[in-house]
């Protein structure tokens, strides 16, 4: 008997900041649209377990996009991208899910993102509450942990965009973000995905993750959860955005909800989806009940 995952993939053309991108996305399920965003330097394969979870896809149309330069989304064909350094910005990060939502005709989707996608969930709740019925920040915060921010982009490129070092090392470096309780096969899959990234892309994504996402206390206080509910989930083994960092955000956003996730790290969706879904499913039920 032939086995298939219930996932289909397509390419869609999105224009962002005047550049047309051919963007790959995968989807499964029917119901409330749920856009899911991957971590820096990786791609939508991180969501393969969620896309196959019938308890999610029975009520949600889950859409996992590979951002341009990631996974199966190539750099833009019509632009001379090789003539400039790749750096992801906050404006561009926010524009892609908005453009995808418009292109697919989605009606007030939910956005869930992890790591830089987690930070994006916070930025979307702040800047586009009319577009999203709720956002779910996985490993999101006001900003990333100081020890890592202080490294600076030069230090980041020295480690992650260094011609003396092959990309296996980027995968190896992700061990710092991963819980020792996560099954080794899943850990190796995360490392594999990171080792497959395009040259300089992980480092360039970190420009948004460490620097261009930097929310003030006042901006966080102004997030209106009656328009766009903000949920937060953070793994206890995540040193980049630890539960302490997320708690600081949760304390400022009236009406938001936050859970620290035991035995999980920075990549909970892939590290151990069976544990992650225990936190996710009640949130999705609550969003559905309020829709």
């Amino acid at each position: 008997m032939t086995r298939h995952d219930p996932i289909t993939g397509r390419y869609v053309y999105l224009t962002v900041e005047g550049i047309e991108y051919r963007v790959y996305y995968e989807e499964a399920g029917q119901g409330i649209p749920l856009i899911v965003g991957h971590t820096a330097g990786s791609d939508g394969r991180q969501y393969r377990h969620m896309l196959c979870d019938g308890d999610v896809t029975s009520n949600y149309r889950v859409i996992a996009m590979d951002l341009p330069y990631h996974g199966k989304s190539l750099p833009p064909h019509g632009a001379r991208w090789w003539e400039q350094e790749y750096n992801m910005t906050k404006a561009r990060m926010m524009a892609f899910p908005n453009a995808l939502s418009d292109a697919l005709g989605l009606e007030r989707p939910v956005y869930l993102g992890s790591s830089m996608g987690g930070h994006l969930a916070v930025d979307l709740a702040s800047n586009f509450p009319e577009r999203y019925r709720a956002t779910i920040a996985v490993e999101g915060a006001l900003r990333s942990a100081t020890e890592y921010v202080d490294v600076g982009m030069a230090g980041i490129r020295n480690e992650f965009d260094n011609p003396n070092v092959n990309r296996t090392s980027i995968g190896a470096a992700m061990m710092l973000n991963i819980s020792p309780y996560s099954p080794e096969a899943n850990v190796r899959e995360i490392q594999w995905e990171y080792s497959c990234g395009g040259p300089g892309i992980f480092a360039g994504d970190l420009y948004y993750y460490y620097y261009d996402h930097n929310m003030s206390d006042d901006e966080a206080r102004a997030i209106d959860t009656s328009k766009c509910m903000l949920y937060m989930l953070t793994g206890e083994y995540d040193p980049n955005t630890s539960p302490k960092e997320t708690q600081a955000l949760a304390d400022l956003v009236k009406g938001s909800k936050f859970w620290a996730m035991k035995d999980l790290g920075h990549f909970p969706v892939t590290e151990d989806y069976t544990k992650f879904r225990q936190y996710l499913l009640p949130i999705l039920s609550e969003v559905r009940a309020g829709s």
Partner: protein, 131 residues
Amino acid sequence: MLPDQKAFIETARRDFEFTRETRYLTGIVKLAFGDETWALNFADGALAGIADGRGLSDQECKIVVEGTPDQWDELLKPKPRPFYQCIQSAAVKHGMKLSVSNETFAYLPGLNRMTTLLRDLRNGRAGHDQA
């Protein structure tokens, strides 16, 4: 506290992942455990042996990892507490020392594997599963 040095050498030399991820490495990897220091000597990817590394300057080494006995004790627990899951996170969050060099970054896969082997030996485990 420390795993047996001879057992580590034997384990490392026959471990597929460790030997693959240290390929082409020539030079010294210094592991300082408080007062005790191991100097792992590599020659074209092969672990030639471990010498007493006390008195060895960092400049003479390709990679340096340093910690107090307590820090190593936390790092080598079967399920370490946050953020002792690896040398890098223990360095950033708990004050262990890890050199910053091209070799350090290039051989991170080997350092991770070394940590797993030390952890397994320390805890009397022959297996390699992290779960």
